[in-house]
Symmetry: C2
Subunit: 234 residues, 2 copies
């Protein structure tokens, strides 16, 4: 069930396993965003040495979940609204290009698989009109398959290896149970069509608009929230 990352092969070493555990804890918010990380503390908590923990921290740094300053220490990244919007901008550019390349490079079998993913979403569509969690997973799954379909190792690395978990972190911590579920699904359909037609240019445009729409949706939401809180302040 868990999305296996092609860029990060099976965890074998203990540092790998601890990395995954901490990663999960950060993404889910069990280790709060922006908090300082105590190397001796975490090492003791996981019953490993500091060297091993530092190895894990290095990998967390690679996917931008923690930041380190020399002689000072590590902190979990801060979840700011600006940061979230920045990531969406990057995604718009990269996933747009990935989608273009997917249209050019995906095999017929991959396209068939992508279609079947959407078909599955469609089936469970009606019964989950309120429950959007699965749709969240489904959305990620769709995007994931398109990215891998680009067959561009650099794109896959950056999007799946580095940004993927950061995006999940933001989604969870900002509590985004996307109200765009059905519209997003329709957009997915159109994107797949463009890919199946091998129309890279259109595929890129559609994916970019799809992500830009998400971003604008968030911006609107934020604007409402701040407007609401400012009336509360009065």
């Amino acid at each position: 069930m868990a999305l296996v990352n092609p860029t990060q092969p099976q965890a074998v070493t203990t540092a790998d396993k601890v990395f995954e555990q901490i990663q999960h804890a950060i993404v889910e918010g069990h280790i709060p965003a922006g908090s300082k990380i105590s190397e001796p503390g975490l090492a003791k908590q996981f019953e490993i040495s500091r060297s091993t923990l530092r190895e894990a921290l290095n990998r967390l740094e690679k996917c931008h979940l923690v930041e380190r300053k020399a002689n000072v220490g590590s902190r979990v990244v801060d979840c700011s609204i600006e940061g979230l919007l920045e990531i969406y901008v990057v995604r718009e550019a990269l996933e747009g290009m990935a989608c273009r390349q997917a249209a050019e490079n995906m095999s017929e079998q991959e396209i068939a698989e992508l279609k079947s993913v959407l078909a599955q979403h469609a089936k469970s569509q009606d019964l989950k009109d309120g429950v959007s969690y699965y749709q969240e997973e489904g959305d990620l799954d769709f995007h994931y398959k398109v990215i891998v379909g680009s067959h561009n190792q650099q794109l896959i690395n950056i999007l799946c290896g580095q940004l993927y978990h950061l995006v999940r972190m933001y989604r969870i911590q900002f509590g985004m149970n996307s109200p765009r579920a059905t519209r997003a699904f329709d957009e997915h359909l159109h994107i797949v069509e463009a890919i199946a037609d091998r129309d890279g240019e259109l595929a890129e445009i559609l994916m970019r608009r799809h992500i830009a729409a998400s971003r604008k949706n968030i911006e609107k939401k934020i604007a409402l929230q701040s407007a609401h809180s400012s009336t509360e302040d009065n």
Copy 2:
């Protein structure tokens, strides 16, 4: 003179310094691409412990200059033609978006600085019609300033922190003394115009075409090379 990376602050720790030295050695080809890295060997060579070396290797991994496999070891990345083209695709997407954001977000002063950089290039333009090395540096410098001008931390991180040295590595190892010097300069001029006009859409298109042109130029070169070598094979 040396381009200071805003994402990687001054090296203070010995691991940082060793990292920079190895980075330089890899980019310049003193440590050959694709070669295996012996931890005990390199550690002895730099007169540091393995722990410190591994710390440096982790940073090299972050900017995609070395790859590590569990229980096997580290290798310098391979410089394949496919890899080079993949990077150009990523750059086209990211720098295009960076350019759009630069048009929206750069301060007037930053734009003035960007213009002055080009003016300097123009002055030395006539005397370096054969010598393209400076143009190389100048090209990087221009792109660098645009990226930073996007004011998007994520974009800056990925492009300046991760891809920058990889691009340099490819340029040096494939011996690219861009024969597009004067045309590239003209394209830079048009890009700056678009930025100064705050026309993000045009700025993105121009930057994408600028990078795509470089990519196609390389593709053409490669095609010629392989055609040449195949005739040699006969």
